[in-house]
Symmetry: C2
Subunit: 132 residues, 2 copies
DNA sequence: GAAACTACTTTCCTTTGGGATACCACTTTC
DNA sequence: GAAAGTGGTATCCCAAAGGAAAGTAGTTTC
């Protein structure tokens, strides 16, 4: 055997893994995208509803990130011809394939919060308080 | 019924969901953390190994994000007293609880790449080419 | 005819994330 | 004693991400 089989295979697997992760991060990049999807997970939302739920987002950023999600076919935008115009956003079937990731993140966040709220020692407690 | 029961409950669930997501994003924020964890997922790595695998990261950013991961008890740093000093990084048991999320992201990235490589129409193709 | 409502866009400005480069401490090798 | 290798830190600098605030368009309400 002229090349080490184990090492080089392992490295290729790792590289492919990292590339796949990077592809996902490309689609989800931006400060608000994951939160927006997390909010739309519970059904259609109008622009103002989203802005109220995704705490801290401004209208500029909200519309920008919604547009990017739309371009990636993750979110569908529907305009209704009502008195003042109504716009509804919802996850496409493709967008719903992200729900697994988002839900896993929510689960992890929940148990992480519990862990931080029941610190093993006083140093952790200091840390927890400073973060809120 | 003085208040709409469905609406208010749904909203609280959504708010809690978004808070949990936000907690997770806090821990994982920074351009390289998820890739670093994705790399350590395949076992212990030395500083230079990580820098070679996480494509594009500089030593400043790598050491900064490793330090932050260490502070959150997701990564363990071990110094060996060898000729030139050797440092190994590895996921802690707690860090390994993130593997589920990371692996889901890798899975999604893989199928997303396939989808983009086999576009439904020519417009998608243009999009795919422009992104690479 | 002024105000209010929705769904944005535009402009301007600040922050900060992060890249490039150089440097440090320590030891072995030449 | 100079170079090379490891695992970083310090410094400077800049593009881009993002926030605040005001403006737009079309319609309805008062």
């Amino acid at each position: 055997m002229s090349k080490k089989p184990g090492t080089s295979e392992k490295s290729e697997v790792c590289t492919e893994h990292l590339r796949a992760i990077h592809d996902t991060l490309d689609v989800l990049n931006g400060k608000w995208k994951i939160s927006i999807i997390g909010s739309l997970r519970f059904g259609k939302k109008r622009f103002m509803e989203l802005q109220r739920e995704v705490e801290g987002v401004g209208s500029k950023m909200l519309s920008k990130e919604l547009r990017e999600l739309e371009m990636n076919e993750l979110v569908k935008r529907t305009v209704y011809d009502t008195k003042p115009v109504t716009v509804e956003y919802e996850l496409t079937p493709y967008g719903k394939t992200l729900e697994t990731i988002i839900d896993e993140m929510a689960n992890w966040g929940r148990s992480h919060r519990k862990r931080i709220m029941h610190p093993v020692n006083q140093l952790d407690l200091q840390d927890a308080i400073s973060h809120l």
